[in-house]
Symmetry: C2
Subunit: 313 residues, 2 copies
């Protein structure tokens, strides 16, 4: 049975991530009803206005007539074909929210949570709408970064996972379906591993935050926009490929693993990060930096449209 | 005292990395004398021909008249203003090579080692040319990725570090000067941390190599080409910046650290990586994949030239 396409979305929680979703959906012709207990219309509009130039440049101008703020989650979810939830990373709060909207939730309406820290099985356990709850984890800024990790829980219906994958693909995202639930899904675990060594080197005075940022944008980060870390190893191995590389460099990599740090995110780490970002920002506000980021990211996305990467699917 | 600019370079070792250096130098008007005990002219020419289109498109066509193969390291280093060494990752072999060329090494000629796994202090200890030995660690492919980590050892003269930094900058690279020697320098430690979790998830069946590559090129890797991981945290914190983000998400990140794996690079890891790369390559040779990578990377580099990133210096 072919599903009806998603025409209306409820966005629950409209902070930086939620409001970016709103902009992205409204740029793709989707009706959006937004609910947030704290963020007012002006705040949400500001995020959407920040996202609008990049979306327009990608050929998808934001239609502000398509989104509207409502005063309760019930009102947002009533009649919606899809729910994107971006509440704070608090399990009890999310579960209460899901329970609250269940009476008005359509039988084929998926609740997709933007959570990076929680798993679907924990969010859905014992709820009447458990079969329709899953993780749809975006990467900031959601209106520009294509990846969305889609992970169901123990009780998620397979059709719900498929519906989320199809919907994200239809609005131009790159859904990555993950079959096993683990903390941090897949991609945030890779990020977390890198963050750990980054915090370690900053706390130990081996490198400043600016050095790490420069190292990434002129080095591996630049490269990882084009080839992933596995293919990187494969190509570094010459014609003999990844096995040759692992035979040759594996011992060095394993020896570095023994030297990696195990820091904590304490006040020292926060102070050093904050000082580094003050230097790197050089007086620019976060909004200004985001605008620069979006402009550069837009250029990269357009370049990659014209020059497909070897690992694209 | 202003230094004479570097006009001639000796390249010792001309595998994938060394030959890419040759192409890059010859595209920047530098005379290059190449020595390699195994790679023949045809093999070196093939790597240079592979690099040439991207270099030409970046406005720096390779001048094949500028490089020549010589039959001994002495002959390569004699009269050279700079030495880029790319021998195998073997400390004794590198030390023997440095000792061998010392008699013909100019008093202001720096030996810069492409090593990722060794430290300058170990390579230079007790050698007569110790003051001129340092690490100049590129990222594959050196003819395209701008980053070069420059790290001196205990006995490296400060002028030698400055000379390497200036030279790399003069040929269009982005030198990152690192003041403290640690295994893996700085940037390979970040990569190694990510590799560890990548190998862990692949060995445990949580994700395939293709899933990890897709997650990176559509997600954080794409983003890290534009903003580094520290600024990413800063911008995700909203106007309150990185401290707010660390206060908010720090506990989740720390909890993931507790779940990260500690794999070894065993046969199972190698088999799974190799199978994944066979699927991802889909019949394309490493050379074909490299050509696709270079084309996409070229597009990204050009886009970033027109759209500067917020963390550029």
């Amino acid at each position: 049975m072919a599903e009806e396409p998603v025409r209306s979305v409820a966005v629950l929680g409209a902070g930086v991530i939620g409001a970016s979703w709103v902009a992205m959906f409204a740029a793709r012709g989707i009706q959006v009803r937004v609910w947030d207990p704290q963020c007012g219309a002006a705040q949400i509009q500001a995020v959407i206005d920040g996202a609008a130039p990049a979306l327009a440049a990608m050929g998808h101008p934001v239609d502000n007539a398509l989104w509207t703020i409502v005063s309760s989650p019930i009102e947002a979810v009533h009649g919606a074909d899809f729910v994107q939830e971006n509440a704070p990373e608090n399990l009890a709060m999310k579960r209460a929210l899901f329970q609250q909207v269940t009476p008005v939730l359509g039988p084929r309406t998926v609740i997709s949570s933007s959570t990076s820290g929680l798993m679907a099985s924990a969010m859905q356990e014992g709820l009447d709408c458990a079969d329709r709850i899953l993780v749809g984890h975006p990467f900031n800024p959601p209106h520009m970064v294509p990846l969305v990790e889609v992970v169901g829980g123990r009780d998620t219906a397979p059709w719900a996972v498929e519906r989320a994958v199809e919907f994200y693909r239809a609005v131009g995202k790159h859904p990555l379906k993950i079959d096993r639930e683990v903390p941090g899904h897949v991609v945030d675990r890779l990020q977390a591993a890198l963050f750990r060594e980054m915090i370690h080197m900053i706390r130990e005075g081996i490198a400043t935050p600016e050095m790490i940022d420069q190292g990434m944008i002129y080095g591996p980060g630049l490269r990882w926009s084009v080839i992933g870390p596995c293919m990187q190893m494969h190509l570094s191995g010459g014609e003999a490929g990844v096995r040759h590389l692992l035979n040759h460099l594996g011992p060095a990599i394993e020896s570095w693993w023994g030297h990696l740090g195990q820091p904590t995110i304490d006040d020292r780490a926060k102070d050093l990060m904050e000082e580094g970002m003050r230097r790197e920002a050089g007086g620019r506000s976060v909004a200004e930096l985001c605008a620069e980021r979006d402009k550069a990211l837009l250029g990269v996305l357009k370049a990659l449209e014209e020059n497909p990467r070897p690992g694209e699917v």
